[in-house]
Amino acid sequence: MTTSSTDNTLPPETPAARVRYGDKIVRCAPGETVLEGLLRAGAEIPYSCRNGTCMTCISRAVRGTVPAEAQKGIKDTLRGQDYFLSCICKPTEDLEIAPPEDADLFGRAAVTAVDHLSKNICRVRLTSATPLYYHAGQFLNLRRDDGLTRSYSLASVPSLEPYLEIHVKRLPGGQMSNWIYDDLQPGVSIDIQGPSGGCFYFPGNKAQPMLLIGNGSGLAPLIGIARDALKDGHTGPIHLYHGTQFSGGLYLDDTLRQMDADHGNFFYNACLSRGEDAECCHGRAEDIALADHTDLSDWRVFLCGYPPMVRDAQRRAFLAGAALADIYIDAFELRDLRTEPRE
């Protein structure tokens, strides 16, 4: 493609902002996002979540000003360089945009440890080449040298340990997760982007009760958030429910039982949806947690892991009285980041 093409898929009378991207000029109708316009016109732009979370479609405005909402959740340094998220950008004026500069987004990190904690979950520790300011519970994008990129939530707490820690669950057919589980070795370096995401512990309101529910490797952000809160001197009760099918999936059982013993206000509940174990609750983590705590007015709730669980528990926690703004979610559906646009 060498000539500049103007998209004429919108009727000419529709009022529209024009967006130039490489050799394409796209017209976005009112209310339409830049990403929608670009995809309609057949432009190639990586994207995944389409709701302003995953950062895959981050772009730079080289001419024109994007609405402030389009920069939601972007680090200040990138915001200052006119970065924005095309999937939530509804342009109000003509724009010229460009793909991100790689060096603005990605840094390098060295793998320092890979520990296999269960038959499909491993713990990876990394050291970033440049200091990273983050909160436990936020996520990083990891990029393999061939460009394959996935998100993983941070279990480490910056004030407690010098390394970054993520938990990787091996997924059937998962290219990245199987590579990490089977092949990744200490000493290897990898590209990292982030941190991103708003599912973390905000200091303050220390007496507020907290309910943390996660399944599988959804435990990673939760254990980070719980340790962060305890480190911060949180005094309210912190109830953590970890759900798996069988007891083999309780990959941090000893650590969590120790935390429960060490802290008067931390309560760990292991929940098995299929297996049997005298020391565990039986049923789905969210069902058990929400039956134990039926009035969540003034609670802070964190829900991480399998997306249908997260969405269902979000609605139920809200109906049980939690304010929507007090429910923090990290649904792992966005993990399958594409490096190629979807057809």
Partner: protein, 122 residues
């Protein structure tokens, strides 16, 4: 100049205070809840804010035509007067719970009522 309804009711902070209360009532009610199931809750909350801003007489960019479009699919799925009345009831209960004065509540309910034909696509 006298204060507008939106100012008297407390503006955007009042909308913020009302939105969770109202949305929770709508989701608790098994007749209205199914209409709100498919969308993601945070996006839905933003739409509830638009709804409340509108019936509080606040700044909004909606026209009757937009209300028709926004609810057209819902009407195909069976949205009718009984649902409209239920939502209106939840709105009134929310305002009463927040201690809004009775004549102000009536003004809000009048605005809400005036949208009936557009919402129900008649």
């Amino acid at each position: 100049m006298t204060e507008s309804l939106y100012e008297r009711i407390g503006g955007e902070p009042a909308v913020e205070a009302a939105v969770d209360l109202f949305y929770r009532k709508v989701l608790h009610d098994t007749t209205t809840a199914p209409f709100f199931f498919h969308t993601d809750m945070d996006a839905q909350r933003a739409k509830q804010k638009s709804f409340l801003t509108m019936v509080f007489g606040g700044p909004n960019e909606y026209t009757g035509k937009d209300l028709r479009t926004a609810h057209a699919q819902l009407v195909k799925d069976g949205l009718n007067d009984s649902h409209f009345d239920a939502v209106a009831g939840h709105l009134q209960a929310t305002l009463e719970e927040l201690g809004v004065a009775a004549d102000t509540v009536s003004e809000v309910m009048a605005i809400a009522g005036s949208t009936r034909d557009d919402v129900l696509n008649r």
